[in-house]
């Protein structure tokens, strides 16, 4: 496959991975993937990247900061009985 095809399909890979590509586009991408090892790596590692971030717990609001949310200046009128 020509690198031209790789570049041409690059913009559609997220749609493909999110299941939002049309049947025609899916077929085009899958045909290209059969012949293009580079794009297979890109799509596999892109899928893996997305999965790793879906599983990432993310920064936790520290308990002390959570506590302070109820006591910051001006919060009294909203939060304290």
């Amino acid at each position: 496959m020509e690198p031209h095809d790789c570049r041409h399909l690059l913009g559609d890979l997220s749609d493909y991975l999110d299941g939002q590509a049309s049947a025609m586009l899916c077929a085009e991408i899958e045909r290209h993937l059969e012949d293009c090892a580079n794009c297979r790596v890109v799509i596999d590692t892109l899928r893996q990247t997305i999965r790793l971030y879906r599983d990432l717990p993310g920064p936790l609001l520290p308990p002390a900061a959570r506590e302070r949310l109820y006591h910051f200046p001006d919060s009294g009128q909203f939060l304290r009985p």
């Binding site: 997220s14 790793l52 949310l69």
Partner: protein, 207 residues
Amino acid sequence: MDDPLIAETSDERALIARLQAGDKAACAECVELHAPGLYRLARRMMRDEAEAEDVVQETLLSAFKSIAHFEGRSGLRTWLYRIAYNAALMRLRRSRPDSVSVEGAGLDGDAGLPVPRQMFDWCCLPESDFDSREARDQLEAAVQALPEKLKVVFVLRELEGLSTEAAAEALGLSPEAVKTRLHRARLWLRERLAAYFTELAQPAAED
């Protein structure tokens, strides 16, 4: 996660009505429900925990003050993210006036998408290499390092689970811009993670 654009679980409608009536218990409920997510967004936009905490405080205060004007066009969560994003952006602009405004150029549309460079397939690493504390730190550091305008789209769409439409509403972007920025962010992160995981898979390659 349910679509935050639809403001519509009866629970949420009831909570909004109580907030608008000035019910303090409702404010506390809103903090319980939404502060953790607001903090995750703020922490990823700001440099440290203290700044992130300030953004969350400012967001909640400003939300409680203006809840009367909340029209329910978007969900409460989307509306809060919008306030938090703007609060964080203001702070960033104040502290680094040049850095935030310029980098948006050329981010939308497919023209000039960065060509993938890292071509090692690191998917087959043992799961323990992805699960480690170090890997999670790498994942967080990579998000922190994303260009601002890609980062916030990635955080809201991929990490906070907002729909394309809700993220567009929160950020004042078109749904199309959200989609292309999410895609750019994913490609950018893939390159960065590949550098780390490739090295992990080939520890002897440098010798």
